[in-house]
Amino acid sequence: MTDRTPNYIHFSDYTKHIPENIPVAVQQATNRFLGNREARVAELPNWQELRQVAHEIRLHTLENLDFYLTQLERQVVQNGGVVHWAANSAEARAIVIDIATQHQVKTVVKAKSMASEEIGLNEGLSEAGIQSFETDLGEFIIQLAGVGPSHIIVPAVHLKKEEIANLFANKLGVEAPPEPVQLTAIARNILREKFLKAEMGISGANFLIAETGTLVIVTNEGNGRMCTTMPDIHVAVVGIDKVVPDWDSLTVLLKLLARSATGQKLSTYTSFISATSRGSSEGGPKEFHLILLDNGRTRILHDPLGRETLKCIRCGCCLNVCPVYKNVGGYAYGWFISGPIGAIFTPQILGTHIAQELPFASSLCGACVDVCPVKVPITEILLHLRQRVVEGNQHVKPSAPLWIRSAGKIGTLAFQIPWLYQLGTRLLPFLTAPLNKRGWIPSLPPPFNRWTRVRPFPAFSARFRKWWSK
């Protein structure tokens, strides 16, 4: 599962054995979301303008991040909240467990939070003897099943209703007919009991508004509201890159988020949380803790191009358009975040020595760049990271194996020296003549068979230069 950080991400191996149901289910989801999104985009004639402003807002925030985080902290404390800073996953987990232990928390209800998956929070809580329940229906299902998400918005989309019914029957001990309405009702009842009993609710945040110290949480189910209303203690774990300067800026991002993610105009519930209720019967928690997570984001900030990765608002649209992701699903990317954004986020956070296969997990088609609401230059960053893998930079040694790095240097010579290149164009047709079958080379020895396994290679001929010299 995604609870421990991977030692190495074997994208290549994972993609060799994809169960059929995953791409099929993923493609159904992505097609639905994209179809809806198209209708939404058509309704807003200033869509491209919105994207440009959103990009500017996000970049501006990152370029002044120290200012906005300082403002945010001041405001949250003024509102009666407690702010904690976590340099890495282990620190963040420790802070959550510390708060829980201090308050003798036995049960936690969790709203969907990618940051909490990033730090492996569920496993940490479980090791500390604290029961933690995912409350987003899809996350609840995969928590029961013990598997990771196949899509960041609909994590259990690859499971059939019969499988889910069996899961409920086996793990929850309830009679579960394989119908979504009944299955949802079962989950509602079980989780309702947890919401009412839990001493602590844990959430992430979609945005943090620096101006007023406000958390913005977006859900369709209402579990975000439940987790941040019913328990007496609310803890939010949020990446430092989620901060937004003010409400005007937020408006632009809210107009883009749901439309880009699922093609809804707005998600069902958007909560704006600026204070604890301090025991008043407004009906909210008595204590609020905000844990701001670094975990490598400040390191990414050093790199002006890599920095743009942090503009991401986690809409999932890049996943929906990516032909690579749609054919392999979420697991292949080895961590909690997948698709094009996963291919650039993971290597920068975990390091290219762990995730060096990911920057190459793309045909560079650029479909993601076209749709990203905040204009993350994904293909440029992929190329940037590929260089980091094969050539290294002043901070990082190249992690690619020696034979690949040598192949690069040899290839350069072949293209760099004109007489060598011309010799090649004359020699290759001659050398490959025995393999030539009616204009095709159906198979080649390894490593070239990586091409011919899939399709034949066109035979070499030096036609053009010969013809030209005539």
């Binding site: 993609t15 054919n327 293209f415 066109p458 230069r465 030209w468």
Partner: protein, 222 residues
């Protein structure tokens, strides 16, 4: 060449040219690619004529990535700016520079068009191709389903992850076969190599050809 002759434009082929460096650049060997790109600049710096290429991805490399290799302060910077400003993909050159869409071509066949990613998204060249195809007599153009989805070539991608590349290629072939055409047109050597290989493997008689071959045709069979 036939087309250029028809238009009375004299093509010059510089024998020292090798490669724009894209395969190395895209594989991450940016420093190595720079060496090749330097040769490219030197070769094409001998005159100031427009540089035309039949490959969208090569032109995209020159126009959009060369400036990364030769930023302000490098000795080749000005030369790079000059060359970048006069490098065109062929259909871009015909429609936007020469300003012609009717080349007197005739191609009496049922065809469909696959826009290569670098041409479509990299260079933003799409409606130029349709304008040129419109000018071809006797041509029957069938829209390709999921036309803008990548064919799975992606350069080094096709050999680093052949299984994923295969799935993408199969999807593209399936869509092409569903149109029941005789020819599929593409503008990139990589796409053509991938798609024609896939068609051959599928045992199909559909042929993959470059747009230029269609534009050069004057009625007979290829």
């Amino acid at each position: 060449m036939k087309i250029l002759q028809r238009l009375d434009i004299e093509p010059i082929f510089l024998p020292n040219q090798t490669c724009c460096g894209q395969p190395l650049f895209n594989s991450g060997f940016k420093n190595q690619a720079k060496l090749i790109a330097t040769e490219f600049l030197k070769t094409f710096g001998v005159n100031d004529y427009p540089i035309v290429s039949p490959s969208g991805s090569c032109v995209d490399m020159v126009v959009h990535h060369y400036h990364e290799l030769f930023p302000a302060g490098t000795p080749e910077h000005d030369l790079c700016k000059d060359i970048t400003s006069r490098t065109y993909e062929f259909s871009q050159f015909l429609v936007n520079f020469i300003k012609i869409t009717d080349l007197g071509a005739s191609f009496p066949h049922k065809v469909t068009y696959h826009p290569s990613c670098h041409l479509l998204r990299g260079l933003g060249v799409n409606q130029e191709v349709y304008q040129l195809l419109n000018g071809v007599r006797n041509l029957q153009l069938i829209p390709l389903p999921e036309a803008e989805t990548c064919c799975g070539f992606g350069g080094v991608f096709s050999v680093v992850y052949p299984d994923v590349s295969r799935k993408m290629m199969n999807n593209k072939i399936k869509n092409i076969l569903s149109t029941d055409v005789e020819y599929v047109i593409a503008n990139d050597a990589g796409c053509l190599m991938n798609i024609s290989g896939g068609l051959s493997k599928a045992g199909s008689s559909v042929k993959a050809i470059h747009l230029i071959e269609v534009l050069a045709s004057t009625g007979g069979d290829q």
